[in-house]
Structures are given as structure tokens and as C-alpha cells.
Point group: none
Chain length 223, copies 4
DNA sequence: TATGAATGAGGTTTCATTCAT
DNA sequence: CATGAATGAAACCTCATTCAT
């Protein structure tokens, strides 16, 4: 175990894969995991189940991953991958000349909402499991993700600087990003439960209301 | 055989306790559960563990509760109990004559935030588990909880009717309640994870920012 | 525990009952047991179940019976009781002047078959359980039962002495009694299983065939 | 993934065993079960007990069998195996030219009686358990067994057609097979209990008396 | 004496992980 | 390297029996 060079992007607890066969196996496992998570939460997915779906042996899973927990970062990775694809494609928000802050926020929210809904099962796994064993997802992973979110918000704010009243732009963008995430996650991942039931509107209506609120928030000055 | 009066409030899967001894045992179990949940999430708490903390036998737990899952509603119940106590005591927000909407919201948020932080371990259990097995918490329970939240918001809005601009008060209060819950839950229950990290401010600072946002939301008219 | 006088007929492991209340409780328990056995085999009947049906507490059962096993002899007792009632009433075979051995046997078989069918659940319990723990039923109990059966057969044989060819009457009556019991038990207690399926005829048809066989057996001399 | 051929005969609830190792483990478990049943009835044998005797882990038993109940069909299978061996070897009844029906029956009974006595513990398990949970042994299994018994009897009857008086050969062979089974099972499986005590003769004496009775039965015409 | 709550040994089953083939 | 059988700790749950009220 004195080898360190990574052949693919590697997460916590993952083992290096030099050979082509290895990489293929890894891919199969990742796909299987994705598919299993669409059916039930991570802790109800057994390693045997994943192996079977992947068409590999249990032992093969353990050759690639130190243990079951080491699969969690992979989920995060899948999600990031999807996010990138999305950002480059349909997710690329087209903001026209004549869009004002409110409509820009609306467009953004609607797009984001669609992605989230589609990949809910992945985020759900990370979301739930990260809470049971926070150490599984290195802080740096969240960091990267967070920074991107805050950055995006900052960009928007500076683009519409004239329509934004709040002064403390660092704090404002951080809070906006946080709120956005929280409310999306609650309703996106668990649409049928508790807090989500409070607001019985769905789809674009929901996204629009969020846009409205953020818009308002940016419009009102600190005390 | 005219036993009809319930000795304690009973939840899903719980068995009736008529005798004093039963109620004592139940109390011990509930306390043990509360304490265990401060240390680890529900699914990592074993029945044997609870029994030991409670100083009773495993069988005693099963005499009071049909199975382990039947303990989840109890967690909810403990939380409600704390909520009531809180609402009657320190939670009773004192809104002065000269408080405006913004400061009323602020007071309310700070109080709520304190309760949530203190009882996070309970809500965390319900929150997580309700998602793995939604059937465990009867929809009516959530309903009650939700309605209370929405009602509270409605009351506040009508009290400060002159400062609220939004027209659709039903939708407005529902959304406000939803947002409030979501963002509080995210940061309150899982302060060290993903979305919460986006907004690195804590305590009253966080509560105040929430109040600010809701205040703004109520101040800005629909399109 | 130096008291020995029995207040009621007592079996192995049963405790004496002097007072009226006790005897009433005992009666209730016995009835409850009878009813429970109509639904499932003895080892699937719990003591709590019996107590509930009897309308007494679990502890009361244990006050009357040393342990669960001590109930088995009671089942035997119930059966004997029924047998006596039956023998005195409908079971009293009326053998007319002009009945020959064959028709006498037939009448007897049909009657016996009816009783057995009706009380199958009791005999089933004794039959199954006596096999798991033979020590529960004192040999003397079986003995009494056996002797009666063999006696009955002997009586019949001597009554129709002229039509019986077999010499060794002791052995003959013993065997006839044994055969009778075996084949009745198999088909009577477990009509839907293995050996019983071999002979797909029911009710009187079955009883008659048995009579025929025994008749033949009595008619054919030893080698 | 073209694994289709079953490596061993499989029963209800049993899992496929493709590898050599699996089959070895299965064999060990089966042997352990056989040995355990010689000591106590099935429901008093624990899975841990079986595993220990077999020298395998508890999990190994569960890898081969869905649950404890799934072992019952195996007992039946062991018995069938022994039956086959026996039928091919010592069980092959030699009927000489000069054997008449009576002596043929005698030979047959004595042989069968010996097998039954030797494998009583197996049949006892099936016999008892099949009654507590009939669904465990597929009806087809009994059917096969039954048909063979009835066939055997039919063959004998037709071979000695001239000495058999009964007309309805279908009914006759069915009844004879049934009687044979019942009386053998009672005395063979539970020699120390109730019905068996009625006939205090053992071994060949018992077998001979059975032969005699069947012989008589075949000799006497229907009414 | 009756009650039924409490006990806890003992059984079944699951599944992450190891390791012989 | 891949395979999948074997492992066994650990969890859940039952129920005969005891014993405080």
C-alpha cells in the first residue's frame, strides 16, 4: 500500500485503479449505486445489492473501495458531474439585456429547481448520510461546492449592483446562497414531509416565490 | 373491564399503560431515549442501549412499545412537550407597543432559534427517520405542527397588516412559515454540514438575518 | 407443600385448589385452553393468550399450574371428560339382537369416528406434545386409556366369540385396538396430510372400510 | 453469467449452490441436521446448534437456506435418499416362487419396519412439523410419496390377483397403503406413547401381525 | 389471593467484511 | 485480479416465569 498516484479522481477511502479493467469496474459500480439510490436510501442498499446490479462480485467492490462508507463521496462526485454537465448545457441561464434582477432570479431558480428535482435521489443520499457520519465527506468537498454557490450569487449581485440595496455584499450573498440551498433541499428532496407541506405549491410557482423573496431581501437595506 | 381512559398520550405502536408502574417505566424509557439521542442518531441506538440507560429490561421496552420504530413518535412527543413548556415560559415573545414588524420578527426568530438549538437532537431524529420511514409519523402530527406554524405567521401578519404589502395572505404566510422552518432546520440540526457552511454566522446574527429577509419579503408586492 | 388431599382431580404439576374462587378460575382456564387449541397447536398458544381468554391474570394461571407444561395433562383430562359424556350418551352403541359382528363393528366405528372428529383439537394437542415431552403424561394415564380400549375390544370379541376365528384373544384384541387408534388418529387429527391423503374417502365410508378390515382380521386364523 | 444447471436437488426456500465449496457446506449442514434430529425434535434444535455441529458459521446456514423452516424439506429429502438406497439394497424384497400372498406381505412388512425404525428420527421431524406448518412441504412431495406407496400395494395385489378377493382394487390398495402407513408411523415414530402401548409386541412380531391383518383384509369380500 | 408489569435468556436473522479458489 | 462463499458480531424480538402491588 505504498502507491499513491491517482489514476482517476479519487475520494476518501477509495483505492487507486491503474488498469483499464479496474476503471471499467469502478464505472459499473458507480452506475449501480446511482440506480440503487433511486429506489431506497443508502443505508438500506446492501453491498451485495450494488455488486449484483453492477454485475461484479462483492469482493470487487471491496477491491475498489475500502468499505461501504467510501461510496458516499462517490455519490457526491456523481452529483457534481451531473451539475457540471447541466451548467454547460441547459443549465446555462441566458440572461437577456432587458432582464431585470427579479426576472434573472426567476430564471435561475426555475432552472436550478429542475436539476434538483431530477437528481434528488443523489443529493438525498449525501444529505442524509453526511448527517449520520459527517467525517465521510471531507470538508473541502463541501467547501468547493459552497464557494461555487456563493460565487454565483456574488456574480449576480454585482451584475445588478444598481438594484441591490444591501451593503454587506459578502454577508448578503452568503445568506442568499444558504437560504436558497435550504429551501430547495427541503422541498426538493423530501416533497412529502413536514416542512414542505407548509407550502403546498409546486414547480415553477414554488421557484418563483423563492425568487420573489430573494429579490425582496436584496432590495431592503440593513437596519 | 371498563378501562378506557388513557393514562398517557399514546402514539402509533405504543401500548396502553394503566398502572403507575407502567407509567414510571415509560417515563424512564422516554428519558433514556432523549439522553441516547444526544449522543448518536436513532438507528445507531440499540434497544438494549435504551433499556440499560433506563435501568429496565429489554422486554420492558417491548411491553410498552410494539417495536423499535414505535419510539420515533415518542421523540416527536418529547419535542412537542418541550415546545409547549417553552411557549408558556421563556418562549412567550413580549411584543411591546413600540415594536415594529421588523423588531417583532427579530424577537420571534431569536427565541425560536434558541429552542431549536437546545432541542436539536430530538428534531434531528424525527427529521431523519421520518424520511426513511414516513409512515411512522402520522400525517396528522405533521399537520398539527404545520398548521400551528402557519397560524402563527398569519397572526403576525394581520397584527401588522398596515406594514405588510403582499396581498395573497394565505400564500404569503404559508411560504414564510415554510422558509422559516427550512432554514432553521438546516442550520439548527446540522450546523456542520454543506448548506449551513454557506452562511458562517451563528446565533443571533443568523436569527436576525432571517428576520430581515422575511421582513423584506412581506414588504415587497407581488409582481 | 406438605398438603396432599386433592380438591379436584389433579394432574402432574397442578396445584391444589381448595376455595371456590380457585375452582372457578381453574374452570375458566381449562375452557380457555380448550378454545385456544381449536385455533392453533399448543406450543403456539401463549400463557398470556390463555389468561386473556379466561379473563384472569397470567399470575393466576401460574397459581394453579406449576408451568405451561402442566396444562397438557389437563387437555387429556378434558378429553376424558368428553369421552365419558359421550360414552354415556350418544356414544352408547346400541347393538341389536340381529346385528352380526360386521355390522356391530360398523356401528362402533361410525360412532367413534364422529367423536374423534369433533374433539380432534384436544387429542391433537396431547398427541403432538406428548411426543415432544413424553414425561408430561404419566404412563398411568395412557394405561388407563389403553386398558379401556383393549377391554372394549375384548368384550366385543367375546360377545361374538362364535364369529371370531383368531385364537390368541389377548394379542388379537390388543392389535385390533392399536390399529383402530392409529388409523383413526392419523386421519382424524390430520386429515389433510401425508398418510391420510392415501385414502381419499371420508366420513362413514372411511369408518366402514375400517370396520371391514377389522372384521376380516378377526375372521382369518393365525398361521 | 450462464449459470443455470442446478448443482443439487433443491427444495422450498433453499438457495442454489453452484460451487464445490457450497455443496460441501450444504452437505455438512445436512449431516449436522440429521445428527441433531437424533437427539431432539426440530423445534428444539437451534440454528446455532446445527452450525456448530456442521463446523460452519451461522451465516453459512442462512446463505444456503432462506430460514430455519427451509430445512424441513431437507429432512424429507434425506429420508427419500435413505429410502432409495434401501430400496436398491437390503430393501429389495426377494419374493420366491413358492411365496404365497401372506408370506410375501410378511417379508415386505419386516423389511419396511426395519427401515422405518432406523430412520425414525427423520420421519418424526417431517411428521410433526408438517402438521404445524403444512405449507413447508409442497403437496407434490407427499403426492409422490403417496403414489409410490399405493402403486406398490397395487403391484402386489395384481401379482397375487388370484388370492385377492376384494373387487374394487383402487379403493382396496389405497386403504391398505393408508393403514400400513398409519400403523407403522404410530409405532415406529413414537414407540413409547399412547396408541403404541396398546400393542406391546415389537419388531418382527409386530410386522407379522400387520401382514396378517392386511392379508385378511384382502381375503374378505366387500359386503 | 389476584393482578399484570417486569424480567432476561435465548432464538432468529442480517450484512459488512474477509479470504480461499 | 476477480469471484462469491464463509464468517460472526450484533441487532431485533418473544414469551415463560417471577414478583411487587
Amino acid at each position: 500500500m505504498f502507491l499513491n498516484k491517482k489514476a482517476t479522481r479519487m475520494s476518501q477511502g477509495e483505492k487507486p485503479a491503474y488498469q483499464k479493467r479496474s476503471r471499467i469496474a469502478r464505472e459499473k459500480i458507480v452506475t449501480a449505486l446511482d440506480s440503487a439510490l433511486r429506489e431506497r436510501p443508502f443505508d438500506q442498499v446492501t453491498v451485495a445489492d450494488i455488486a449484483q446490479r453492477a454485475g461484479v462480485a462483492v469482493g470487487t467492490v471491496y477491491r475498489r473501495f475500502e468499505n461501504k462508507d467510501a461510496l458516499i463521496p462517490v455519490v457526491m462526485e456523481i452529483y457534481e458531474h451531473r451539475l457540471e454537465e447541466w451548467a454547460a448545457g441547459e443549465g446555462a441561464v441566458q440572461i437577456d439585456e432587458d432582464d431585470d434582477l427579479r426576472s434573472a432570479l426567476q430564471k435561475m431558480m426555475r432552472q436550478a429547481w429542475r436539476l434538483l428535482t431530477r437528481e434528488a435521489h443523489l443529493l438525498r443520499a449525501v444529505h442524509l448520510y453526511a448527517r449520520l457520519k459527517p467525517e465521510l465527506i471531507p470538508e473541502s468537498d463541501w467547501d468547493k461546492y459552497n464557494k461555487a454557490a456563493v460565487q454565483g450569487m456574488k456574480a449576480l449581485i454585482s451584475h445588478y449592483a444598481d438594484q441591490v440595496v444591501r451593503k454587506n455584499s459578502k454577508r448578503t450573498s452568503a445568506f442568499a446562497a444558504y437560504v436558497l440551498n435550504s429551501i430547495f433541499i427541503e422541498k426538493g428532496l423530501y416533497p412529502n414531509e413536514s416542512p414542505a407541506l407548509l407550502f403546498p405549491y409546486k414547480g415553477d410557482t414554488f421557484a418563483d416565490e423563492c425568487a420573489d423573496m430573494l429579490f425582496a431581501y436584496l432590495q431592503v437595506p440593513e437596519t
